[in-house]
Symmetry: C2
Subunit: 264 residues, 2 copies
């Protein structure tokens, strides 16, 4: 059966998902955003109908895909819309039981990736974490997700929430460390590009080493001399000073507990 999809939301996840749907040959009937400007922008970008009026969201889709903020999702799901269709949300931290009784056919496809509008990526490599209300719908969603990506996993809500939490560390917090490095270099008129090989190698190392084995630098050696020098350099940046201190201590603590674990 042909997928006739309606995409609710127009942010980074919604637009990347919509593009993947198009690529997989699905027909997108409409993209909805409550903000007219965002709806128009996404619709024009993707070349599909768009609306910011809930009443105009088509009722004849067989798949409704929600990629909106966690705060907005329950309110949107509570609205009347295509009760027999399959309704799927894409949120990492929202449980399957967010769906109301009026939408009995429902599930989750959580794409474990960082999406920015201005950065294309190969959606076929994005891990898709699938969960659904019945084994039948789970199978249906697994098959559907398999048309979008080669990396499909079945994951329950509680596990998905932990994966989302881990992803915040591995992606958002990592990116914030890049932002801080950027800031330190910019303040000294040093081109940020000088760090690129280091950033690439750091990400590459953990393909073959565990993060614990891959760790280098002053904290894991408990090199107080360098740590103190760096803290002195950060004296006029209290927030960075505190972050440096806290993460260094965490590295030192973890190293100690590993070392003692090895001895037991």
């Amino acid at each position: 059966m042909e997928t006739t999809a309606v995409v609710i939301g127009s942010g980074n996840v919604a637009t990347h998902f919509a593009r993947a749907l198009q690529h997989a040959g699905a027909k997108i009937l409409c993209i909805y955003s409550r903000t007219a400007e965002h709806a128009a922008e996404a619709g024009k970008l993707l070349g599909i109908p768009y609306t910011s009026e809930w009443e105009q969201v088509p009722e004849n889709g067989n798949l409704y895909l929600y990629a909106v903020s966690d705060a907005a999702l329950p309110g949107l799901l509570a609205r009347e819309l295509a009760p027999q269709a399959l309704h799927v949300h894409t949120a990492g931290s929202i449980s399957l039981d967010v769906f109301p009784a009026s939408k009995p056919n429902h599930g989750v496809i959580y794409p474990l990736q960082t999406f920015s509008k201005d950065k294309e990526l190969n959606f076929s490599e994005v891990p898709l974490l699938v969960e659904a209300v019945t084994p039948e719908i789970t199978n249906k969603l697994i098959n559907f997700a398999g048309t979008l990506s080669t990396a499909v996993y079945t994951i329950k809500s509680a596990q998905r929430q932990k994966i989302h939490l881990a992803a915040v560390f591995a992606c958002n917090f990592v990116n914030h460390m890049y932002a801080i490095a950027d800031e330190i270099l910019c303040a000294s008129d040093i081109p940020v590009g000088v760090l690129r090989p280091l950033i690439a190698e750091t990400a590459s190392k953990i393909k073959t080493l565990s993060p614990a084995d891959a760790q280098t630098g002053p904290a894991v050696r408990n090199d107080k001399l360098i740590i103190d020098k760096h803290l002195t350099l950060l004296k006029q940046y209290p927030e960075l000073h505190e972050i440096y201190n806290m993460i260094s201590n965490s590295i030192i603590n973890r190293k100690k507990s590993q070392d003692s674990a090895c001895k037991n």
Copy 2:
């Protein structure tokens, strides 16, 4: 003139440097470590003479390369050794003026990369940050560094120290975020491999986007609902709870200052 090198130190930086020297056709006369076992291990790995006796360190080298801990470096430099040769340290945070008067020909080559013994890398792409006591020696070191890598920069001590600090954020702290993600997933029996595409994309994004523009996730959206859920999940891990809270606040603060900067 052929480079006849002596490598002082046998850790990750020393062995990767020694291999690069060999690759560039330099002759390594000896590798020294104060620990006999480490000296032997590195010497055998590289197929070169080794010693843990200072008196046996050859005097006839023309290049002495120090890759030791910051704490050990001044003591080693203070020892009598080949006064006319070129002495070069590799430390990010140690100034050029660490060299004593007894070693008038000296400089620094700081390799801006993370080295692990069990992970090979292409040394020819490692940024080498060069500084030396005179313009002549600087040129000599630039030429020499150019035989090891295609990415050679001349950088003064004060700048190098800031680059080292930025590198701790962009590499060691990033890797610690991977370690924490790892820990969260392991505790839930979730295979860590599921995060690989996310980690790769996060590092890849900042080749074309600034870290500020690349940021996604709950903190940059100031999505208190998810942040609170994550903090609840981390309740029994006080250290991770604090790290999550602090970095999220830092992302939120930085976003605010950018937003207000845009308005001015």
